[in-house]
């Protein structure tokens, strides 16, 4: 998915570079002509209308795919409680007591079961980003003190998933991670 986005970006960037280069060369080769508008700030409603239509289509297609609406009509078959703190995660199938947070030694989930991660933090803001066995970021939410973010996800592929902290949380931020096994 990320590489499709990258390709889209590169294609659009190349198109823009082409347009700007063409416009620049047309100026260099103008031989003293003055065909550009005297006041460049004239209305061009049609251009904005086209751009607006493209963006409106993009928005209407992508907003329903936002993570807040993922599997919202279904009941999760498993809940995993996550408490993040500098610089590790506590994960449990039961609610975690902030006063003495304890968790499971390992978290095991099944493919195609709906899991709800209830993610919070016991100190500063952290990230909770799930990476596939191929090391591709597939889902994430933030861990914020005083709040619980609910992330619903169905794992389609078995394997060892790694969770990384993606919100800068201090000097050992780069070492903060844990794993989830999917069978």
């Amino acid at each position: 998915m990320q590489y499709s986005i990258l390709m889209l970006f590169f294609v659009l960037a190349a198109l823009l570079v082409g347009i700007f280069l063409y416009v620049f060369l047309s100026s260099r080769q103008s031989n003293g002509q003055l065909t550009g508008m005297a006041n460049a700030l004239q209305k061009r409603f049609w251009f904005v209308l086209i751009l607006f239509s493209i963006l409106a289509i993009f928005a209407s297609v992508t907003i329903p795919k936002s993570p807040y609406f993922l599997f919202s009509g279904e009941q999760p078959s498993k809940v995993v409680y996550v408490a993040a703190r500098q610089f590790y995660y506590v994960m449990s199938y039961q609610a975690i007591d902030p006063a003495s947070p304890t968790g499971e030694s390992s978290i095991e989930l099944n493919t195609n079961e709906l899991v709800e991660f209830r993610v919070t933090s016991l100190d500063v803001n952290h990230g909770f980003a799930i990476y596939s066995p191929h090391n591709e970021l597939i889902a994430q939410t933030q861990a914020m003190p005083g709040y619980v973010n609910r992330l619903r996800w169905k794992f389609s592929e078995p394997g060892l998933y790694t969770v990384y902290c993606l919100e800068y949380c201090g000097m050992a931020h780069q070492a903060m991670k844990t794993t989830i096994t999917v069978k």
Binding site: Q33, P67, I138, G146
Partner: protein, 477 residues
């Protein structure tokens, strides 16, 4: 006499910005070299550098835009030289305090200093209040500066005129120059976000000095942080555009651009979009009301409409098949618009919630904002520096083509490494990378190499411009 005083303070701003720019780029290169493991610094040093790099870059390009806007504004209204100098002194004091808290106090909570991280002291205990105090000094200097410029504008233009609302009627009796309109829109946005920063600082100090009896709400603090941080980073770009609207046609030897109802409408809407787009920084905080998240995406998309529909298209129309007196200054403007719009595409992609789900806080984020800064906004300010120093300092521009090519090749190279890193899901703000991120070190080395090429372009430019600015500074009044 008055002109000379403004020339001198503007020269001082330019030299200061360029010196700090060289320092900040060097810190960035050290970070990429460390990530590539070609050099080794401790994680604390890395994150300290990261904090200074981010804040310095935001600060200098903001003041560069302000100094340029202040200089050009003198064409239309009388501004206060004393306030300009006051803002300069406060900026220098603020930067020195910031460096003390970071380089000596080892404060390293990042440029966003996201609450409550600064309270979890992993550095010298005095560094936290010193850091916040440095922000307060910078904020007061900048707020006074903005308010002073707004008051100067309002002495000449009515509220209706300064926002160009008279252009909505059929035959407006007066014309609001595009520069005045854009400067006003930007200043109002900046004042609003600085007021959010004041609230943020008051809440922070309240908790800090309450010794635990008062605790802030993390979600509110995050909203305030990004309302301030996102908006000021965005507004510095719009300050650059105000300069472009004024100078691009002038340097190119073309008729001056004039405000139409269409331009007035676009820029008035821009203010609304800018002030609501910051919500996209909180997409991954699922407890934030969903309405705000959707507003974030729609506002971020909408912000591109007036930008692309008016500014970018106008520049293209102004240049297409038209004889232009190309010089380093207007080439920098033209390239800056290209970089800005390409960075804008990267930003719109990331501002799409379903994309942000897999791109947030990966290298895609520094990729897009470095694009519209390093190859966009920075080039707008460099264009002003070039135009100003050549006009008032004299002398011919040497090495123009070399500067342009070094900035372009260096910029494209180090940005490409960021974009590919984002597509490879590599996290941002990691002092070193876990081994599983196979491409991370190579991309970091590649990024450092090309950032050095970009730096060498900046150095050549710096030598040329500083000579002229020093000449202006040393001129007798």
């Amino acid at each position: 006499m008055e002109t000379t005083r403004f020339n001198k303070i503007t020269s001082l701003w330019i030299i200061t910005v360029l010196v700090l720019f060289v320092v900040a780029i060097t810190l960035g290169i050290i970070m990429r070299l460390n990530q590539s493991e070609l050099i080794t610094v401790s994680p604390i040093t890395f994150y300290t550098d990261m904090t200074v790099h981010g804040l310095t870059m935001i600060g200098i390009w903001f003041v560069a835009g302000m100094a340029a806007v202040n200089f050009i504004m003198e064409r239309y209204v009388k501004t206060s030289h004393g306030v300009n100098v006051f803002a300069y002194v406060m900026t220098v004091v603020g930067v020195l305090l910031l460096w003390a808290s970071t380089f000596f106090g080892r404060f390293h909570a990042g440029w966003t200093f996201l609450y409550p991280l600064p309270f979890k002291v992993m550095w010298k205990s005095w560094a936290t209040p010193t850091f916040y105090f440095s922000l307060a000094v910078l904020g007061v200097g900048w707020l006074v500066w903005c308010l002073s410029l707004v008051s100067s504008l309002l002495k000449k233009y009515s509220l209706k005129e300064v926002f160009a609302w008279q252009h909505f009627s059929k035959n407006p009796k007066t014309e609001t120059p595009p520069f005045v309109l854009i400067a006003m829109i930007s200043l109002v946005g900046i004042i609003t976000c600085l007021l959010a920063a004041v609230i943020l600082l008051v809440l922070t100090f309240a908790e800090y000095y309450s010794k635990g009896s008062f605790v802030n709400d993390a979600l509110l603090m995050k909203n305030l942080t990004y309302f301030f941080g996102h908006t000021i980073a965005n507004e510095m770009l719009y300050l650059g555009l105000a300069i472009l609207y004024e100078l691009f046609s002038e340097i190119s030897g073309r008729p001056k651009w004039k405000t139409t109802w269409y331009v007035a409408l676009a820029w008035n809407f821009t203010l609304i979009f800018i002030l609501t787009a910051f919500f996209h920084h909180l997409y991954m905080d699922f407890v934030q009301p969903e309405g705000f998240q959707i507003i974030g995406q729609i506002a971020s998309y909408s912000a591109s409409l007036p930008a692309a529909g008016v500014t970018v298209f106008s520049v293209i129309v102004a240049v297409y098949r038209t004889k232009i007196n190309w010089s380093l200054a207007n080439l920098l403007f033209f390239l800056g618009v290209t970089g800005w719009v390409i960075g804008g595409i990267g930003a719109v992609i990331d501002a799409t919630i379903s994309n942000n789900f897999i791109l947030h806080n990966t290298l895609w984020v520094p990729a897009h904002f470095h694009t519209y800064n390093a190859l966009g906004n920075v080039l707008f300010s460099l264009a002003f520096f070039q135009w100003f120093s050549a006009k008032y300092g004299g002398g011919s521009q040497r090495w123009s083509k070399v500067v342009l090519w070094l900035l372009l090749i260096g910029g494209i190279g180090f940005l490409t490494a960021f974009y590919i890193g984002g597509a490879d899901s590599i996290p941002r703000r990691y002092s070193s990378y876990p081994e599983v991120f196979a491409t991370a070190k190579t991309l970091a080395a590649f990024g450092a190499l090309f950032a050095t090429v970009y730096l060498s372009g900046v150095l050549v430019f710096f030598v040329n411009i500083s000579k002229r600015c020093l000449k202006i500074l040393l001129q007798r009044s």
